[in-house]
Amino acid sequence: MAEPFLSIQHVRKSYGTNTVVQDFSLDVEPGEFVSFLGPSGCGKTTVLRMVAGFEEPSAGKIVVAGKDITRLKPNQRNVGMVFQAYALFPNLTVAQNIGFGLKVAGMAKAAIDARVAEMLDIIKLPQMADRYPYQLSGGQQQRIALARAIAPKPKLLLLDEPLSALDAKVRVSLREEIRSIQKKLGITTIFVTHDQEEALSISDRIAVMYGGKAEQVGTPFEIYNRPATKFVANFVGTLNVLEGKVTDAASGKVQVNTQEVSLKGKLNGSKSGDTLSLALRPEAISLARQPGHDTSLSGEIAEVHFLGSVIRVRVGIGGNTVSLDTFNNSTTPPPVVGDKADISFSSGDMLVLH
């Protein structure tokens, strides 16, 4: 197996008695785009700052391209970083901001000018060279910050929630632009975010973090469809959780309210009488039986929200409530609250949470 480009090995970070990152390990391949996803305080930014050199690990090692950089100062690491608050130098023009790292490196003026022009073309803002940061919008400032970070051709690009301060529309367009530039340059990138949609849409792999640990590392498809822990399942996407009781462990029978579902091969050693948390994504559930769905449960329509193209329905099944979305159809009126309804799904889509 090829050697990873970035290897974070058993890294721990403590402030006094408070451990914010515990035994975090991750290997990143060259050119890979990996997102650290998690709620506030999960340690994702701390890991990123340790890679950047702003924080020193209490234990563990960080290796980039075979070189141990754990104790190197940030200005010796050849790493590019984009900050949440843009962090453009207010006293410098856009061109001077982008050329800052090149000037510090002692590059000749002509070469700096050429590289700055190239960067401005990449971020599609060639006319902004002489503007000051205060004359730009948030999205433009963040594009400049990205250009500034990649201008010195860093080995590694770190993005610390770069889209958080932007409005929704700009966020979507900029994240696509970031991904496209990253692919074009082939630069290994770590992206920190608390926004699951962002992480799912642009990452090669996602490390979902919680309590200073990586709960699961995998592709967006794996993370979404095969969450390894209850936290990942709850944090990524919307999830319906049903409480069930194993009635016959051998044949995989589980009772949900008074109804029975079959989960053969999924009970992972659970015994008859055990209670389980069963999870279903809303998109795996249909109102009424659909082809390919082998399981159905009866309930009552509890809530109906008309959202235009989509109708969000909540169905009560005993003490559980299941949320599902159906597409709006102009010839079929939405369900009515209080009506009896059957929901169906494939038992293969049901997850048993641990």
């Binding site: 940030p74 050849n78 790493v79 970083m81 790292g101």
Partner: protein
């Protein structure tokens, strides 16, 4: 609304009168040197006095060195406290306030005892040494104003993120201070510099007790022995102050705009 505006003008008028009537009276008095007519004789006498030129030049040079010393001490110190040692801020603020509490005469007597010709650091054994000691003393006197001005300037920028952004781009500490931090707090530094200049130009106690040929002792000497010249000197001092303020206003136009607007 109209009534509010009227009273605002009244207050403004009273304030203006409070500041300008004594100034106009001083100016008018300074013109009375020649009996029976108004003339600029007092100004001619003052400006033609070689001691005025020498002492003023001495104080201007002392002020420039004091500003340089103050900037070199205060900017890195205030920056470091904001970046890495915020817990020390109350202590440093207290220390910088001490020159307002401890009279200059106490400081200068301390200097004379500490740096006399028999001490291991005999600053007072030579003219240059005594002048250097005077500049150091002035930097101490200006500390409350310079520190506050710079600290206020640092508060307007995101010191930590800008520092980290510069660091990750390969910059060392001297580059960060000279090319990122200082330009962004230039207006604050200029305000501190202006206050320092004003303090140094008029300072009497230290210069007198260290026996330096500064403008403050000259002002005192003229004031004690002449009638009209001190009034002329007061007006000249005001003109210098206003000149400095205008200079800062002009310079501030070239200063960077630090507004980080949200999108």
């Amino acid at each position: 609304m109209k009534s509010g505006k009227f009273w605002a003008w009244v207050v403004f008028g009273i304030g203006t009168a409070y500041f300008f009537i004594p100034l106009l009276a001083t100016f008018e008095f300074s013109l009375r040197m020649r009996r029976g007519v108004h003339s600029f004789d007092a100004y001619q006498v003052v400006l033609g006095d070689p001691r005025f030129q020498a002492t003023f030049l001495y104080s201007v040079i002392a002020a420039i060195f004091t500003i340089i010393l103050g900037v070199l001490i205060v900017v890195p110190a205030a920056y470091w406290i904001r970046l890495r040692l915020p817990q020390l801020r109350p202590i440093v603020e207290f220390i910088t306030l001490l020159p307002l509490v401890i009279p200059a005469i106490v400081i200068v007597f301390g200097y004379i005892r500490m740096y006399g010709s028999n001490s291991p650091l005999p600053f007072l054994a030579s003219d240059l040494g005594a002048s250097a000691l005077l500049v150091i003393g002035y930097a101490t006197l200006a500390l409350p104003y310079m520190y506050r001005a710079v600290d206020t300037g640092l508060r307007t920028i995101d010191v930590r993120t800008l520092t980290e952004a510069a660091q990750i781009l390969g910059a060392g500490w001297s580059t960060i201070i000279a090319r990122v931090i200082l330009p962004n707090v230039l207006i604050a530094v200029l305000s501190g510099a202006f206050l320092t200049f004003a303090i140094v130009i008029g300072e009497f106690t230290m210069a007198s007790l260290l026996n330096r040929p500064a403008f403050g002792p000259y002002l005192q000497n003229i004031g004690a022995n002449r009638a009209y010249e001190p009034a002329a000197l007061a007006i000249i001092a005001f003109a210098i102050t206003w000149g400095c303020m205008s200079l800062i206003q002009i310079l501030s136009r070239f200063a960077p705009k630090s507004a980080n607007r949200p999108n």
